[in-house]
Amino acid sequence: MIIHFSALKGKSIVDVENQFVSKLEDVVIIDGEKFAEVTAIVYRANGDKVKLPWKLVDSLNKYVYLHIKKSALQPEKINQNDILLSEHILDKQLIDVDGLKVIRVNDIIMAKVYDKFSVVSVDAGIKGFARRLGIDIPFVKGNPNIIPWEFVEPLQTDKNLKLKVSRQKIAKLHPADIADLLEELSPKERATVIGSLDDQTAARTLVESEPDIRKSVFDNIKTLRIAAVLEKMSFDEAADLLSLMPDERANEILKLTSPEFSAKIAEVLGYSAGSAGRIMTPEFIAVPEDYTAELTINTLRELMPKAEHAYYIYIVNKESKLIGVLSMRELVTSKPDRKVTEFMNNRVIKVLDKDPKEEAAKLIVKYNLMVLPVVDQFDHLIGIITMDDVLANVVPRSWRKISYKKIRKRRKSKSAAK
């Protein structure tokens, strides 16, 4: 049997001898993973809110029946850390982490779960709203909008509640989904959500967000935090974000990042928007021409590069000009003592830093490359462009968005069919 909180609130509390105690004003809950157990009932005594343990409740019917005498009651004061359903949850906004949207709690649905009276879901639908007004709509077309408790997360810029009911459901979402969610929020709320994520997730989320959303986030979070988040991005992504900001702010942020990071960012930012240099990553693996296969592999072990940087190993001569390329497969399958120059490909497909980024995209598509090296006018190797960089830059942002939403919808309809 389910009970609506709207029906429970305001009920009279009576003791074992049917003596009226007070009206139920609120309940205290303890948040759990899937449900929130109701631990106490709250009423007013002499104007102050007090609570009684739920175990004193005998049954719920027309009234809330207690199984002890009124004279034996020992109500306690409300604790600072207590989560009150009516005060903190009802009528407030929550995030539906499954539907990726902000909902308003119109009513709360409770039931007995494993013998414990608990909150099981929240009603964000029009039916719930009508019920609060005392109107029963027997039939509503479409989505009733009832969200299981396990999928909600408080959206309070109020720090108190955030600590009380911290569930970190949002942090577990895919960054692309968090980015969708940010669109539903006000600038202040966006900053709160980003603030609750770790640097890595925050960085991925911002990369997936629309430019105007990123801007609103940056305007609302501390410079130090922005610097930390930026360092988790690749250089081209970070440069992209910085270019959206006023120069002064961007410089302020760069000062707080490590010197190597800011130097490389400055390098990328030196290229005009839309050029290959702007979307490149100035991090790659290059070895001198006199290296052997074994030495190269040892160097790789030491450097422990990120995956996207290690598809190919580039070979440069003494003037650091790009003279050849090796795939990882070619490297590991070669005899250890062979010189890289003996088995490298010396016709390297490359792009000039000042070329338009579309040129880089064409080369990557035409030659089926994972990574494309970028050289300056003197043929010095200065960076690489990966397939992802090109995709992100060439495919319109709206395409990617649509596909995420469609994937979610499909997934949802599939699980509903089950």
């Binding site: 906004q93 119109n106 029009i126 006000s186 600038p187 202040k188 105007d212 305007d219």
Partner: protein
């Protein structure tokens, strides 16, 4: 570091913050506003000009509160009312807002009809075309782009100031009437008094302004600039109001019995020339069209926000049915009522102001309660002086509203 008295940075910052106050205040001089001001001028001459100053001050006070609440809480007014006053009050306010805004939307379409008629275009063409155009604009453009379009449309309000000079008013008389209030103890005078207030300070605009400020993500360090934005907007509204009353007062007062805003424009032709009349009509048209776009969409937003329903123009009908129903209903009914043959427009204008006038004191009281709540506003609660000023305003508004309801219930000739 050099110290500069004029810095481009400050100018840019100001431009980034302005908008909400100026747009809101100007959307406020909508069709029903223009109708009311011009009829007030035609009926009472310069007599009601003095109201411009107190109304502008009251508007600044109320809108400053809306701006401050928006900046400090980062939440819309409907949100805050729901969270602090519960379901029942929210519902009643939303119903009130819906009715008031429906009436106002009708008045906007009436304005479109009248403006078209001045140019000799039948309302059976202008009204449906504009209804579709409004729907198309809302559906097609992003809200932010829409706002920019609106900022451009505001330029058309200049039309009134120009036609004000073309009307060659009696400047000494204008100055005298503006600075020394004259109160006539006649029901019609009071009806106009409240109608002018009811049309210039509306419940709806408080929701709109606060929402726009939240959406812009303004922070407390922007408050001073936002205040300037609000004050500038209110003064612009006051100036336009002043000029409209002045135009009709100096051309029509005592010359003919004007009861319809269409007559206002046609009466302008022999008195002030065809250009003044055409400018007047253009100003009216854009003001009305602006209102017909902004009102339905923002009403749908506020109601869905308060009740907790899905909203947003980027959602499909299936995702947010109520949002579209509210918006479509307002546009459809607003346009259709105008198509009823033989319908008289003036009672529609007056009715919309009566509903707004009754709702306004309630909204302002809720705003005062919210802004004085330390839990919500922290150190940014109202000062004692500000509370006194605003409460005095509320008392005056309430008395006038009650008077208006009584006078409109009594049978009489307006």
């Amino acid at each position: 570091m050099k110290i500069k008295f004029f810095s481009w940075k400050a100018v840019l910052l100001f431009l980034a913050v302005v908008g909400p106050g100026i747009i809101t205040a100007n959307v406020d001089n909508d069709a029903s506003g223009i109708a009311t001001y011009s009829l007030a001028g035609a009926k009472f001459g310069y007599l009601l000009l003095w109201t411009v100053i107190p109304i502008t001050i009251l508007m600044i006070l109320v809108q400053d509160m809306a701006a401050r609440i928006g900046i400090v809480t980062g939440k819309g007014l409907a949100d805050l009312i729901r969270e602090n006053f519960g379901v029942k009050i929210t519902f009643l306010i939303m119903v009130g807002l819906f009715i008031a805004n429906l009436m106002t939307t009708i008045a906007e379409f009436a304005g479109i009809a009248v403006a078209g008629q001045i140019f000799g275009i039948s309302k059976f063409i202008t009204v449906p075309v504009c209804a579709f155009a409004a729907w198309w604009l809302i559906k097609r453009l992003k809200y932010k782009t829409l706002e920019k379009v609106f900022l451009i449309l505001i330029i058309f309000y200049l039309a009134y100031i120009i036609s004000g000079f073309l009307a060659k008013p009696d400047w000494t008389n204008v100055a005298k009437s503006t600075l020394s209030p004259t109160i006539k103890f006649e029901p019609v005078y009071f009806a106009f008094l409240i109608a002018i207030i009811g049309t210039s300070i509306t419940p709806w605009m408080q929701f709109y302004l606060q929402g726009a400020i939240v959406e812009k993500g303004l922070k407390i360090e922007h408050y001073t600039l936002s205040r300037i934005d609000v004050v500038m907007g209110s003064i612009m509204t006051g100036v336009v109001m002043f000029f409209i009353i002045m135009v009709t007062a100096s051309t029509m007062y005592g010359k003919s019995d004007v009861t319809d805003i269409g007559q206002v424009a046609s009466a302008l032709v022999p008195l002030a020339g065809i250009y003044a009349a055409k400018l007047f009509a253009i100003g009216l048209f854009f003001a009305a069209f602006l209102g017909a776009c902004i009102l339905p969409i923002s009403t749908a937003y506020f109601i869905c926000e308060g009740i907790g329903l899905e909203s947003g123009i980027n959602k499909s009908f299936d995702e947010a049915p109520q949002f579209y129903i509210i918006m479509g209903f307002l546009i459809l009914i607003g346009a259709c009522i105008l198509m009823v043959p033989g319908i008289s427009l003036i009672p529609l204008f007056i009715l919309s102001q009566v509903v707004n006038g009754i709702l306004l004191p309630f909204i302002v009281v809720f705003m005062v309660l919210i802004i004085n709540n330390k839990k919500i506003m922290k150190e940014y609660v109202n000062s004692f002086l500000m509370n006194i000023a605003i409460m005095a305003g509320v008392v005056v508004l309430t008395i006038l509203s009650v008077l208006l309801v009584i006078t409109s219930l009594l049978p009489q000739k307006v």
